[in-house]
Amino acid sequence: MIEQLKDSFKTFETQLNGASKSSWHQLRKKAMVTLESNGLPKAKDEEYRYTHLGRILDKKFQFTDLSMAGRDSNHGENILFHDADAHHIYINNGIVDKEKIKSLAVNGLIMLTLQEASDKYPKDIDAHLGNHSNNNKDAFTALNTIFSYEGVFIKVEKNALIDKPILLHYSTTKQLKQPVYQSRNLIIVESGAQVEMIESYTSHEEEEYFSNHVSEIVIGANAHLNYYKLQNQSNKTYHVDNTYIAQAKDSVVTSYIFTLEGKIIRNNLNFALEDQNCETHLFGLYVAHGDNHIDNHTVVNHKFPNCFSNQIYKGILDDTAKAVFNGKIFVQPDAQKTNAFQSNKNILLTDTASMNSKPQLEIWADDVKCSHGCTTGQLDEEQLFYLRSRGISKSSARGMLLHAFVDDVLDKIKIDFLHDFVGAEMNNRLD
């Protein structure tokens, strides 16, 4: 497969014309070297132990043509929230709608394709692109770095308050053969700025595809970001998401991942707390059925004193669905007075669903408060019986208990239309 990728990269280079001398392209070359020596994750790779992506991708997808030629940028199928009060950006089959994104500019908010940004904002690109992600640690990040060409550049300028959410619609239309999409985002929220972002993923229900997405998000001092991902693709979607968030001092980031559908979904969410007094919240909710496979890996790296992080991930697994949670918290030697909490709770609705949950805390400082907990079990029989003994049907009782289980995460959603959508999806799934 690596040989295939190398050939593909050569073809890709010839299509780049003058851009092959750019600093961005130097990143690509380096990433190719890294990927060549590391390879894609193998079955024994600890990080991908429960999600054997390397083998599956190798079998299923052609990595020969990763260029962008001939792909249309029409809006794809099943897009949600068309009418929502938001800044709408459309990315179909990995291609950004260039005209639309340009038309959105408002005071304090710069939104461009990554290509255009590399001409207009070379300083930002040089300072950040590839500097917060890790090609060596994650092969899919390297793969994306090598081949990504398209993506979204967002810069929220100093002290800007963005009045409505930025909504990125990722969609697909039916292609002739199983395609591979790689898109890349660079998001810079400058000091004192405040913004909400949503990435909403949908797809054509018949299309089998692999999308490999990387976002680097840079948060300035005292900046605030609420960052939502809604993964509602088809059960033929193979999706890897690597998100790297670097926080400067006094900043607050709240992230949410809702995974409602997907054949194999792997999310790597990485937080680096790069200065004092950062606050980080991570909320996750996955509701898997059929043979869905949903894998969430999180890393919160506390490097400086007086930071706070809290994560709550919850899952409901039906049929033969599988899910994985791996949450790493690092507390570095200097990060005294760290408060770091983590909880992962799962309900299995069948005997054939399975969950692998692994909290990992590495604490090198001595004056910290850290805790983690994970539970995986069935619905509580006592609670079910109690509700039924009052005349409530078994299915209603199950629905009530499942709602109760997810409500504390749902209640954290601050955007009404998103809250309503996820709430309604939960109703459909759980009742």
Partner: protein, 253 residues
Amino acid sequence: MLTIKNLHASVAGQEILKGINLEIKAGEIHAIMGPNGSGKSTLASVLAGREEYEVTEGAVEFLGKDILDLAPEDRAREGLFLAFQYPVEIPGVSSNNFLRTALNQIRKYRGLEPMNAVHFLKLMKEKMALVEIDQKLINRSLNEGFSGGEKKRNEIFQMAMLEPKLAILDETDSGLDIDALRIVANGVNKLKSKDNATIVVTHYQRLLDYIVPDYVHVLYNGRIVKSGDKSLALELEDKGYDWIKAGVDGVVS
């Protein structure tokens, strides 16, 4: 109203009820007493339909219907109510939503229209006053963080809301101080009518000073070994269970 004939039940292969016979008519209050492990709570659980108990023999007829094959929710809809010995905490489920769902599913089963929000709230207010339960408790998640007494009072409140034909109070008095006991008993007495009946399962004669039974039954080793009127409870309070045990065990051996 309720006819239990030769009821045998076991849990995890061990027989707990070994042939219970009992007849309860509308308007009556029956007390079931007995030493620990005699099968009192098992009887209550079997009647309510708890699934881990297996009925191996016998029949239970409730208002002319065999209920042993009914799901727990259908027994409740027929008019059976169990006040739990250990009410379950259900975080995230509001008492309001819970009771409204229960009430309306019972009404639907009986062919009645759902109760609208205004009527429901009015009914809640009325019944809350009856069992002297605080609105603050009802605003919280079901039983979450309630004290023992508050949980028991909430059971009686639910009973008042659902207006069962037969209520089974499973050791509702255990752990209650005298004030809470009075409130609970008072609620039960106010709800009593000539059309409904109550089974009071208890350890202690004290409750029966407040809820006066028409009949008292002693359950021992899975059978009702003695029945009488309220004076039997006083006798048990006075003499304990040993004389009954001795009598039964003597006969058996």
